[in-house]
């Protein structure tokens, strides 16, 4: 696969604050040993936003932490509008009142607000996200819909919500009539040290989550999105198996091509550190105020190395020797590899089809 590096990023993730009103058990953002949790003052963000506009960045994705907790959030959003950009917003929903939804609508530039909702009922949603977090998330979706702000939902799959996925899907797609929602599962991002093994899906649970989601995907075609997690893996693993059965490699695969972000996207941490991606928060490329984003984009060696990662063949790794899927595999997310192995330039073990098949076999199971 040949990737082209854009002259400037098209999209920039801004982690506007490290503050959050929740403390979800699985949160990759909080308690990262390699990250300093300090918030930049308004003027620093305003200067960066102006620079992004001048660099013709088209869109920013606002997150954190909980971006809406910033008292100056609408000053920053006004600056985004004046700088001729659009924005997306990721939120746990708690701060989204009817008034906030209306203000977002009035900007005329909001692509979409993504609310995190992990279940159809408080007992399920709150297993990981904490007591009292369900009702505000649901209310937020309704406020955004009433204000006609495009809204979507991210469901993070874990052992405690697999059986509820059909009910969650009904709630989101039928009752609330959302056009679509996306799914992922808890992954070891940032620092793996903080995660207990019990947070992750076991091979059996992972297979069950795949089957439930693929059934729902068939029932609601095109309305359940996934770029990672059980549904994405189900689709990718089947494609890899088909490729192997047909003796045809998947074009562009066979190298570490799982991460395309570094070609058109960059991220900025709450403390002003430029990072390649929110999944690689410890890879600091420079600091706001010390270097310009555009210089970092063009000159940072770490970023260049990540782009060069796409040229590394899976055949060069001991752990991939003799694997039937080598020419159809992408090696997956650099963030997963860095977190689990301490090296971004390796295939990420959490998305390895061969080891998943072996783990299933040990449990007397197989991928259908």
């Amino acid at each position: 696969m040949s990737h082209k590096v854009m002259r400037t990023p098209r999209m920039v993730d801004l982690e506007l604050t490290s503050r959050c009103n929740l403390s979800c058990r699985y949160c990759y953002y909080l308690d990262h040993q390699g990250v300093s949790y300090q918030d930049l003052p308004t003027e620093r963000w305003l200067a960066l936003i102006r620079e992004l506009g001048e660099s013709k960045v088209m869109s920013v994705c606002l997150s954190g932490g909980e971006a809406l907790l910033r008292e100056d959030i609408f000053t920053l959003i006004d600056a985004i509008v004046t700088s001729q950009m659009r924005f997306d917003l990721l939120s746990n929903g708690s701060p989204v009142t009817a008034e906030v939804a209306q203000r977002l609508k009035l900007t005329g530039r909001c692509n979409c607000v993504q609310i995190s909702l992990d279940g159809s009922r408080a007992e399920v949603h709150e297993v990981m996200r904490g007591e009292g977090s369900f009702a505000p998330a649901l209310a937020a979706i309704r406020h955004l819909q009433a204000a006609e702000v495009p809204v979507t939902v991210r469901v993070t799959v874990h052992a405690g919500n697999i059986d509820d996925l059909p009910a969650t899907t009904r709630l989101l797609l039928e009752e609330l009539n959302l056009p679509s929602f996306s799914t992922n599962s808890i992954s070891s991002l940032g620092s793996s040290a903080k995660y207990d093994d019990e947070l992750f899906l076991s091979p059996e649970q992972r297979l069950r989550a795949m089957q439930v989601l693929s059934g729902l995907d068939a029932r609601y075609p095109g309305r359940i999105e996934a770029s990672a997690g059980p549904l994405a893996e189900w689709q990718m693993f089947h494609e890899m198996r088909r490729a192997h059965q047909n003796g045809q490699p998947i074009p562009g695969h066979g190298h570490l091509v799982g991460c395309g972000c570094v070609f058109d996207r960059l991220a900025v941490r709450a403390d002003g550190a430029y990072i390649p991606c929110v999944m690689l928060p410890q890879m600091v490329l420079g600091m706001i105020g010390e270097s310009r984003l555009i210089d970092v984009w063009r000159d940072a060696k770490v970023l260049d190395d990540l782009r060069e990662r796409t040229k590394i063949s899976l055949g060069s790794f001991e752990e991939c020797r003799g694997c039937d899927y080598q020419l159809s595999c992408t090696g997956n997310c650099a963030g997963g590899a860095l977190s689990l192995l301490g090296d971004a330039n390796r295939p990420s073990p959490d998305a390895c089809l061969r080891s998943f098949e072996r783990d299933l076999a040990k449990a007397g199971l197989s991928l259908p």
Binding site: K4, R7, K56, M58, S59, V81, Q84, R86, R109
Partner: protein, 101 residues
């Protein structure tokens, strides 16, 4: 601002829509982005050249004159293509005669 463009002719002094963003991607292409609706159009390098000349002061006649200087063998056919391109940009609301309202 208001676009009162009706019909393109060579004496018009067209300007680009100041609300749009031109993002040069590489030597062959650029993206024209409308932040108000998120729409993106792809422009090739000739279109970018034209875009950069439409400053509201030069007539289309003059713009074509400049293109003739830049490109060898710029003939009547090329002029027709430029007009077609300007027409389609005008259809998108990307260029026009802009008035303060």
């Amino acid at each position: 601002m208001h676009n009162n463009l009706l019909k393109i002719d060579l004496d018009m002094r067209l300007a680009v829509n100041p609300n749009l963003v031109l993002r040069i991607e590489d030597d062959d292409c650029a993206l024209l982005f409308d932040p108000d609706n998120g729409r993106v159009e792809i422009l090739n390098c000739t279109a970018v050249e034209i875009w950069q000349q439409l400053d509201g002061k030069r007539s289309l006649h003059e713009v074509i004159g400049r293109l003739e200087e830049i490109y060898d063998g710029f003939d009547e056919d090329a002029t027709r293509q430029v007009l077609a391109l300007v027409n389609s940009l005008a259809g998108l609301g990307a260029v026009g005669v802009w008035e303060q309202t």
